[in-house]
Symmetry: C2
Subunit: 524 residues, 2 copies
Amino acid sequence: MGGTRFFFVNGAEALLRTLVAADVDVCFANPGTSEMHFVAALDRVPGMRAVLGLFEGVVTGMADGYARMAGKPPVTLLHLGPGLANGLANLHNARRAASPIVNVVGDHAVTHAQYDAPLASDVVGFARPVSAWVHSAVSARTVGADTARAVQAARQYPGQIATLILPADVAWNEGASPAAALAPVGPADVSADAVAAAVAAVRSAGSRAAILMRGQALQDRGLRAAGRIAAATGARLLCDTFAPRLARGAGRVAVERLPYFAEQLVESLSTIEHLIIVGSKPPVSFFAYPGKPGWCTPEGAAITYLAHAHEDGVAGLEAVAAEFSAKPAPVELVLPDEPEGPLNQFTIGQVVARHLPENAIVSDEGATNSLGPGLALATARPHDHLSLTGGSIGQGLPLAGGAAVACPDRKVVCLHGDGGAMYTVQSLWTQARENLDVTTIIFSNRAYSILQIELSRTGARDLLGEGDDKALSMFDLSNPDLDWVQLAGGMGVSAVRVHDVAEFSSAFRSAMNQRGPRLIEAVL
Amino acid sequence: MGGTRFFFVNGAEALLRTLVAADVDVCFANPGTSEMHFVAALDRVPGMRAVLGLFEGVVTGMADGYARMAGKPPVTLLHLGPGLANGLANLHNARRAASPIVNVVGDHAVTHAQYDAPLASDVVGFARPVSAWVHSAVSARTVGADTARAVQAARQYPGQIATLILPADVAWNEGASPAAALAPVGPADVSADAVAAAVAAVRSAGSRAAILMRGQALQDRGLRAAGRIAAATGARLLCDTFAPRLARGAGRVAVERLPYFAEQLVESLSTIEHLIIVGSKPPVSFFAYPGKPGWCTPEGAAITYLAHAHEDGVAGLEAVAAEFSAKPAPVELVLPDEPEGPLNQFTIGQVVARHLPENAIVSDEGATNSLGPGLALATARPHDHLSLTGGSIGQGLPLAGGAAVACPDRKVVCLHGDGGAMYTVQSLWTQARENLDVTTIIFSNRAYSILQIELSRTGARDLLGEGDDKALSMFDLSNPDLDWVQLAGGMGVSAVRVHDVAEFSSAFRSAMNQRGPRLIEAVL
């Protein structure tokens, strides 16, 4: 890339060539007028795939799914402050997933900012809450260098969101040159003291020790090391309720996913005397409730950080494992029988587990219907499980799409609650357009079912008025019922509605035997 | 309200009672777990209507439409930082419309903030770019007072966005009391000097003077005063391309809507020697373009601010008009004939203008297809016209819904481009649920047509690669075509697709003769 220093182009082209040189080669986009020169550069510069989303929450959600599966950043292209704003919720989820993403947000020309035109806004202000790195480019001459820094920031271990604001005149002005890729900041070494503390902890506490993992530790190398420790000492292996990515199924080392509700979380951790953290944080309840605990680790339990999120948790686990000679006990393949009985999350889970192909990717925003598939999939064929890291619903559909872009040879199955799926329903159109190999299962219970539960758990149900269903109507998605067959058909995705297990099984098997997007509305 | 000082309830109920006491009586909501006590209070406290939206951009867009038509603030209920984030783009539009809105954003309990749970985020950071007033409540004892201040801030003339963040424990804790409404800050007086300058300007410049109006000035009293000035002096009456609300049609005073594109804007203003501003700003181009002007008022033209946005523009116009004795010339009713020829924005506009009932509300996000209806509606039956104030597409559908909530006895017609309509397509579900009297016309050109135009206008079309349609594919909404009949049907709104003028006219007349939501996909 040294020669490119003398290669003058416009700012947009320099930006794009810098991205491609840094191995950023997929752009999830929803452009507008201020991004026209970026779009033209997409056409001219080889090596960048462009994937259109019809709403920015789709764009950023796809970027997150891509980043989790590709292990490298994509770039998003967003239209000024409001375009970025539409993508913020899924950037919140991506931030919690530590997904590396470079956002390029077009803005008014630097010379136009003085006029406070209708679309002018505080773009930096919108970007800051989700971005580890924010910069507004000021000149075509420096935008190549800015871009290299943005990619470096996104790649800082374990992954961050970097937002580069690109004023229109910076994009169209000439005199720019691409910049060479910068070396990203890799994981920091774990400390020898932390390794020694973890070794001592698993030796002394045995099955009363637990290792709570996140990030790379939940992939093959990390899991094998953790499995050796568990086999030798009896230590439990845990992951967060919402881990960004977890390798699961036959041949892998089993990890317990922590439960969602605080009282179950407390119960699950009640025997722990020593909690060893690898890339995660001590478990807390997802929400606070009157009179219930927020902190869920037992009082008196010791906590050791074997690896903070920015440290090399895999190496840490391997260093601990090196003290033991046991072999990990891999999960054996056990496929459920074809189920009978009513259509519910458990029978659906059994069908999915029975027929899920090897190396599939499961994007799970099943919400109150995630437990059934989660149980059944534990011993299914090996697969990756992606979950709702930041709790902002409307992530599962685009996450599935982005994963399919990253891994075109792997089947993607998306498990989704109906309420959450409506947030980024436009995702289905991109699935159709790109012929992404995603099968979506909508759990159609026609309610914000989690909120019906939470109304009681927060104590608010006791405070309702009499004979007035105004509160309950806020969680009711019937009146009218959503018709997912029509919604999917309206965006070019073929869909079917099923009411019993036999219909569901037939539809799911059919989807597994074909390529391309399908949707199954499972009426519960 | 004095007695309520001694009336102790929980924080959520105090908040809600304070809102109702301040005449805020519609809540557009998309709640989550942290808002359960607010939802329970909705049930218990009389006087607050609750309208559910399946996505927060729908919620905030409806709030804007309601505020523009009701002339008073609604409240939104949003779920933590990401829920607010999903609503930001339409809050940007609402900010540009000077719509009074109170946002209540639930947050984690104050005691839970220390744990950085998955949904924790910088809520104040998300709120700031769109909010004139932001406050995070810290105690049930003070949340009533906080709420009164929030409403006061929203009502500050001409209207602002106030965001009150409500931690879950502030909502559920007892010991709160409602607060009495505070007097809002009304419009400031215009200065006598400004009135004198405006009088002199219209006297001396005559038809080379123009009065550019926004806000209240575009309603009946303001228009009558402006019409007297125009009748006496020949001064032109202008409004911005995207005025929040404009009273139009027969019996009203005609106002020229400024064109969108900069060169047309420059041409339109080329004869102006004196520009008089009432609640607006000097016109600038919507975007910047290489080598084209951003500032569109002729060099050398004088500019007088008769009224800044926070001043009483109506009184200012009346003070100027008092110097003259002419009567305004009202628009005469001229309805187009039933058109023949191809289905396009002009024939659609003629049908709409011919059959639009008196006192209808037109929510216009027609984008490249707005001109035809705009021309034809100029002499139609009197109606209100609402437009895309902040330029962030995806506003028209929820704006129409909110207007229908505010004005249940008026027919609402929504003109919408297909690309923009996808952003907040979930709006249709709320229309069906609440049986809102909205007829939506989708201009189905299966493209981001404005961007196809802007690609040339920015000069970027000349920079495309050869034989590569990657850039053009970013503006193409075919492959697959969106099927609006299925999309609407999937959300309970009956819809029809039309391909010619006769079909369109039949569908539109039918919709005008019935109540409730309808959608017409006009394939162009």
